[in-house]
């Protein structure tokens, strides 16, 4: 089913602006996506008419807000095919989700000598919390190396797994290279050693259908803002058993059952992990973003983005003088590259003058850049509203860059 791109673009007010007197070409969706009117309206409407604190009132507004908030939880459950809504925790984003797991595991299951496996292509948010966990518990961090293609060295992964492996934490799709990791297989391999598995799905959720039951991961994390939703809200999916086993993260209102100075007891899932007043508007906005994606069809979105990726890649090859980073057989959503002899900062600056927004630098994945011996890359990351015409404009911009810096 061909999707109607002009119709989709019309729903995104931010796309129809000029930057430096040029029409905006927004290719920085890996950093954050633009928002459709339906999401903007849901948030505005909440504050204009529906605002009330949730889970604690007996009046109409409170009940209505609670219903909308919990409806969003059910929408997320359905979106990622989790078994139960109590397995869906709302957080501030992927980074908080991962920190939650790392912190709670540090205070319970993790012990000295345990091993935590991450990959060489992780975002800092899926490295640093585990480094902190190792510091706290005496566990050791192990790293799956990456091949020149940008694919993980699966043989090395196999070797790293052993009876001491407590956690395997990897991304579903790499934000720096676009590699789609074989996570279902990696999760199955980890299970043989009874290791817990956490998947950083921040980059994957806008580009691929996620089915946590099929993946059988213990944790799956993502952010709303990369999938056409608002900033400040994310999801932690966790299997019920494990979420019940670990202690809470933030203490306070909402996450308790009874509070006495002699001791307090904690609420049941999912509220045990949702202390304090949440980003209610954000959660409601997330529900609208899910509806937006489901209406177009996640597979259709992925197919369109794949077409763009192929087109952009072929145009870049045609341009010449381009070195690609991340050429895995299975890739999604973005192209990371350098123009030979041109520093990415210089290129990004000139492209900006032409109204083209890409990301340059290390993309919060310094280890990846170190691995390939480069200061950073230029990254064009796509969303459902990007077009081939925009890719053409981008290529013209790159020609300009090459001319200026040759």
């Amino acid at each position: 089913m061909a999707i109607n791109i002009p119709h989709i673009r019309a729903q995104f007010p931010a796309l129809h602006q000029e930057v430096n007197n040029k029409p905006l070409v927004y290719f920085d969706n890996g950093a954050t996506s633009q928002k459709p009117q339906i999401v903007i309206d849901a948030i505005n409407n909440y504050y204009a008419k529906e605002n009330s604190n949730i889970h604690r009132g007996v009046h109409f507004l409170s009940q209505q807000a609670t219903d909308k908030y919990e409806n969003s939880r059910e929408a997320v459950r359905r979106f990622i095919n989790a078994k139960r809504t109590k397995e869906i925790i709302f957080t501030r984003g992927t980074t908080e989700s991962i920190n939650l797991v790392a912190s709670c595991l540090s205070r319970s299951i993790l012990k000295k000598g345990d091993e935590i496996i991450v990959s060489a292509i992780e975002h800092h948010s899926n490295i640093v919390p585990w480094q902190m966990a190792c510091e706290q518990t005496g566990a050791k961090l192990k790293v799956i190396p990456v091949l020149d293609s940008g694919e993980l060295d699966m043989a090395a992964y196999e070797d790293l797994l052993n009876n001491k492996t407590a956690i395997v934490a990897v991304n579903h799709i790499s934000n720096a290279l676009g590699t789609i990791n074989p996570i279902k297989k990696m999760i199955a391999m980890a299970k043989k050693y009874n290791a817990l598995t956490l998947i950083d799905g921040a980059q994957a959720i806008p580009h691929a259908k996620v089915n946590v039951q099929d993946l059988d991961c213990d944790f799956y994390c993502f952010s709303a803002h990369k999938m056409y939703g608002p900033t400040g809200v994310g999801v932690l999916f966790g299997k019920e058993d494990i979420l019940n086993e670990i202690p809470p993260y933030h203490g306070g209102g909402e996450m308790i059952k009874e509070v006495k100075f002699e001791g307090s007891t904690y609420n049941e899932l999912p509220f045990k992990f949702e202390g304090g007043t949440p980003n209610i508007a954000g959660v409601i906005g997330l529900e609208a973003a899910i509806r937006f994606m489901e209406e177009i069809g996640v597979d259709n979105i992925a197919a369109h983005e794949d077409e763009l990726l192929q087109y952009a890649t072929s145009k870049l090859i045609e341009l010449g003088g381009i070195k690609f980073y991340g050429q895995a057989k299975e890739k999604a959503g973005l192209v990371s590259f350098l123009i030979e002899g041109v520093h990415p900062y210089d290129a990004g600056t000139v492209l900006d003058k032409l109204g083209i927004a890409i990301r340059t630098g290390h993309h919060c994945a310094q280890p990846v850049m170190d691995r390939f011996g480069i200061p950073g890359t230029m990254r064009a990351s796509f969303a459902v509203y990007n077009t081939k015409e925009e890719v053409d404009t981008f290529i013209e911009g790159l020609k300009r860059v090459k001319l200026m810096f040759s």
């Binding site: 520093h343 990415p344 600056t349 950073g376």
Partner: protein, 138 residues
């Protein structure tokens, strides 16, 4: 020339340009004119790291004046570095410490000093002033 006079000279030069492309072309030229930094100074200990590009800075005192040697791996940054060296190198510590560097904003390149750019320039300016302070007593 005083720092202020050099700044004004630079502002006049950039006033000749109509658009951003001419400005950047000029910066690229300036970057080529900056004398290559002696490899003995292009070390990690002289590195001011930014998210996006690196800047190397070394300072020494000669005849009561502060001499700066600087470099960057990105050309636009290097062009701005060349301007900063032109303004501040060969001046006294007092002059450097007390100066208001307003020429970058005046020539429309303020964006390169913003926090988000993280290209080491803001840190470099701070470091240049630190050097001036540290070498003042010597």
């Amino acid at each position: 020339m005083t720092i202020q006079e050099i700044q004004e000279e630079i502002i006049d030069e950039f006033d000749m340009f109509d658009d951003w492309m001419q400005k950047y072309d000029y910066l690229i030229e300036l970057s080529k004119d900056l004398p290559a930094m002696d490899t003995k100074y292009r070390l990690d200990e002289n590195l001011i790291k930014g998210c996006q590009s690196k800047v190397w800075l070394h300072a020494e005192k000669e005849d009561g004046k502060i001499i700066f040697h600087a470099d960057s791996d990105a050309i636009i940054t290097k062009g701005i570095v060349a301007l900063l060296v032109r303004v501040l190198s060969g001046q006294s510590s007092e002059a450097i410490i007390n100066t208001e560097l307003d020429f970058i904003e005046a020539i429309g390149l303020k964006e390169h000093l913003s926090m988000t750019r993280s290209n080491g320039l803001l840190a470099m300016i701070k470091q240049m002033k630190f050097y001036a302070l540290a070498l003042q007593a010597k």
